[in-house]
């Protein structure tokens, strides 16, 4: 921020780029900030992915093979799976889909010159990076944070996690949360106030709609997490007893607060993916999205209903049967707007002139994985069934399909779709398709067998297991290896694109790509839409 004056100065010079440090470290430009978000996300993905591959390596066979540093270190495994969860949720998916693509393309798609508060945008970015640093530090403090991403007390209380590691983790989430809240306010103001003349809310591209709904979810959910984390922090350090039953508190209250945030959080992750997939399906089917308004309001409905289903994560805490009946019913209701979305994607493709470029393959992959995870989601929504599945690998398989891998597929889809616009270089289509198939085959071999292990009763969050589960775990680990190779291939493609990519056209996708970002040159110039385009009388963008 020392260079705020500098940043102000370059606003006055059309396409004059500032120096390296000013440009990337003090940026107020939505495209540059988006790019830095993307690279932060990729870095965190390598760290978090590396952890998951180590866990799969350990789980490939029964017994402990790699955790044995003298004595078996089970806490280290807990630290790995906790950090994996935190990294993937807060520092990979959210920065890429919201911070990266959101920053890059929301202003472009609505014809705005930049975000409403460019400097606040910069603060969001650096709060996130500081949060990431704190999280990585927490792994080296004491015995690390081995609480799982849900941070349930009493495991996260000072009895079972003495030392400062959990405090580092809490502060890390506070910073990441503050970053997201500021980012969300920025998006809401930008989308409400800075759309091009004539672009009404009902003509906005669906990706912008998805970011708008996500931003509201962030505003409503993250402060609750911040409040709960602060209570936990004061419980640990300042003698309060919000969650300590031996002093009048209640650990179940933490679960209520956490999941009141946690359930909307999974929609925060997946809604931008919905928006992105809508753009891509429409582009490569060369048709407008089927049921545009239904698609937009389905996202709103998912967001609203997402706030009243949280206790379906807590069926085993002793809720009475009526409460569980309500949460089961409310959870099943979410399948309706979700079904509207799946139906409309398929209806968009129906009769379209479909082109199987890499982004479209990834969009197909996304829909497949999301439906797969959705089906197990409807299974798990039933509290009677969930009492059996709770904390087994069936749950692990479910949420990796529906949220984790689906979101990663959307990120890949978005990267292949927009890299030409972002870098000015086009990726290699053949390598892209190979990368898709490796990844698609890899993740299915990785996660599908976990359904079987879970149905057979294998618990989550353990580094060792009875020999009976050995077979499917081995298959799953082979899948992890294929996925790892697919990931390496992606980074090779990324490198080749920047080093030797062909020059990207303004619109490489043809008539199907109708949104405003395809009306500016590739790469998108430093400043775009300083004169806002007139969108009055135009059709909905998608």
């Amino acid at each position: 921020m020392a260079n705020a004056a500098d940043a102000h100065a370059h606003d006055d010079h059309g396409d004059h780029y500032p120096g390296f440090f000013s440009r990337w470290f003090c940026s107020t430009n939505h495209k540059d900030i988006g790019t830095v978000y993307m690279f932060v996300s990729m870095f965190a993905a390598l760290v978090g992915g590396g952890m998951s591959w180590f866990m799969r390596l350990e789980l490939a066979e029964p017994g402990l093979q790699y955790l044995t540093g003298g004595a078996p270190d089970m806490q280290f495994y807990n630290v790995l799976l906790t950090a994996h969860g935190f990294l993937m949720v807060f520092f990979v998916v959210m920065p890429a889909l919201i911070g990266g693509f959101g920053n890059w393309f929301v202003p472009l798609m609505i014809g705005a010159p930049d975000m409403a508060f460019p400097r606040m945008n910069n603060i969001s970015l650096w709060l996130l990076i500081a949060g990431l640093a704190l999280l990585l530090i927490s792994a080296f403090v004491g015995s690390g944070v081995g609480t799982g991403w849900t941070v349930y007390p009493p495991l996260s209380s000072s009895i079972y996690h003495p030392g400062a590691a959990v405090d580092f983790g809490i502060l890390s989430l506070h910073l990441a949360g503050a970053s997201s809240i500021l980012g969300a306010i920025n998006f809401i103001v930008t989308i409400f106030n800075m759309r091009a003349p004539g672009m009404t809310l009902h003509k906005m591209p669906l990706f912008v709609w998805s970011i708008l709904v996500t931003a509201f979810l962030l505003l409503l959910a993250l402060p609750v997490l911040a409040g709960a984390l602060t209570m936990l922090l004061t419980d640990r350090n300042f003698g309060t007893a919000f969650f300590d039953p031996a002093a009048g508190g209640d650990p179940v209250l933490w679960q209520h607060l956490f999941w009141f945030f946690g359930h909307p959080e999974v929609y925060i992750i997946i809604l931008p993916a919905f928006g992105l997939i809508s753009q891509i399906v429409s582009t490569f089917s060369k048709k407008p999205v089927f049921g545009y308004l239904g698609m937009a309001y389905a996202m709103v409905a998912i967001g609203v209903v997402g706030f009243v289903v949280w206790a379906h994560h807590m069926y085993t805490v002793g809720l009475d049967v009526d409460t569980r009946a309500y949460f089961t019913a409310a959870t099943l209701v979410i399948a309706v707007p979700t079904g509207v979305k799946i139906f409309s994607w398929l209806a968009t493709m129906w009769g379209g002139s479909i082109e199987f470029k890499t982004p479209m393959l990834y969009a197909f992959g996304f829909i497949f994985l999301f439906v797969m995870g959705g089906v197990t989601g409807v299974t798990l929504a039933n509290s009677s069934a969930d009492l059996v599945f709770h904390d087994t690998y069936f749950v692990v398989a479910h949420f990796h399909y529906v949220m984790a891998i689906a979101a990663i597929f959307a990120m890949f889809a978005g990267w292949y779709y927009w890299i030409g616009k972002m870098s000015g270089k086009q990726y290699n289509e053949t390598l892209g398709k190979i990368q898709f198939w490796m990844f698609f085959v890899g993740v299915n071999i990785l996660f599908f067998p976990q359904h079987f292990a879970g149905l057979a009763g294998m618990p989550r969050r353990i580094p060792d297991y009875p020999d009976a589960y050995a077979g499917w775990n081995y298959v799953s680990s082979v899948g992890a290896l294929i996925t790892a190779v697919g990931t390496m291939l992606f980074f090779w493609i990324l490198y080749r694109t920047y080093a030797a990519g062909t020059k990207a056209e303004q619109n490489p996708w043809g008539e199907g790509a109708t949104t405003l970002e395809w009306h500016v040159p590739s790469p998108a110039p430093f400043h775009t839409f300083e004169d806002q385009p007139d969108m009055s009388g135009k059709q909905p963008a998608e």
């Binding site: 409403a116 508060f117 809240i181 969300a184 306010i185 920025n186 809401i188 103001v189 409400f192 106030n193 800075m194 505003l219 409503l220 959910a221 993250l222 402060p223 609750v224 911040a226 409040g227 709960a228 209570m231 003698g239 007893a241 919000f242 039953p245 031996a246 002093a247 009048g248 209640d250 179940v252 209250l253 209520h256 607060l257 002793g318 809720l319 009475d320 049967v321 009526d322 409460t323």
Partner: protein
């Protein structure tokens, strides 16, 4: 150009402030949820929170029921705390009396409070306390031992609720913990008179 830009900036700040107040409201709601959750539990009996009434119903039933007693202690409180009797048998709707005994093992007076709940958690709303040592703070002098009474009844409605009709035994559990700031309170529960009924077993 300057004027409309200023107007835009004002509008942006207004929208941002509206968003910020939404955030502040949600943080407030998160903290408000602590007392609200407590209240909700008391009203609905959620999580095995017993109800509180002034007296037992006039008419007891002739249905047998068992209430068992459990005692826990916060490790930072140097007391011994246990129930005098393991269980009492009584009729639904009948007022029961039980005693817990507590000893201060330290060399200074200590004030403690007890939290309580009943299991199975679903019967919270049918277990009613009339009077209890847990309603107030308890101060024990060094080496002092006191017997602390609790009077209660089990609401016969428990047999009308399909989800609780099979329950024949309830466990009442207490956890004593030290009060944060030491005060010279009285062992008020001991001074209260209660009218015990005949406790079978």
């Amino acid at each position: 150009m300057a004027k409309p830009q200023q107007k835009d900036a004002r509008r942006n700040v207004r929208t941002a402030l509206a968003c910020a107040s939404l955030v502040a409201g949600m943080v407030g709601l998160a903290y408000a949820s602590v007392p609200l959750y407590k209240l909700f539990c008391q009203v609905t009996g959620l999580g095995g929170t017993p109800g509180i009434e002034a007296a037992a119903p006039e008419q007891a039933t002739d249905i047998d029921f068992t209430v068992r007693f459990d005692a826990n202690i916060n490790p930072t409180l140097p007391w011994t705390f246990k129930p005098v009797q393991r269980a009492v048998n009584l009729k639904l709707g009948e007022e029961g009396l039980a005693f817990y005994t507590a000893t201060n093992n330290s060399d200074h007076p200590i004030t403690g409070t007890a939290t309580f709940n009943v299991t199975p958690l679903k019967i919270g709303q049918y277990f009613v306390k009339i009077d209890c040592f847990c309603f107030t703070e308890q101060t024990l002098q060094p080496g002092e031992t006191v017997d602390m009474p609790v009077t209660f009844y089990v609401d016969p409605e428990i047999r009308q609720d399909r989800s609780t009709e099979e329950v024949t035994t309830i466990t009442l559990s207490y956890t004593f913990y030290p009060k944060k700031s030491e005060t010279d309170g009285q062992v008020s529960a001991l001074k209260q008179k209660s009218t015990p009924v005949d406790i079978g077993g």
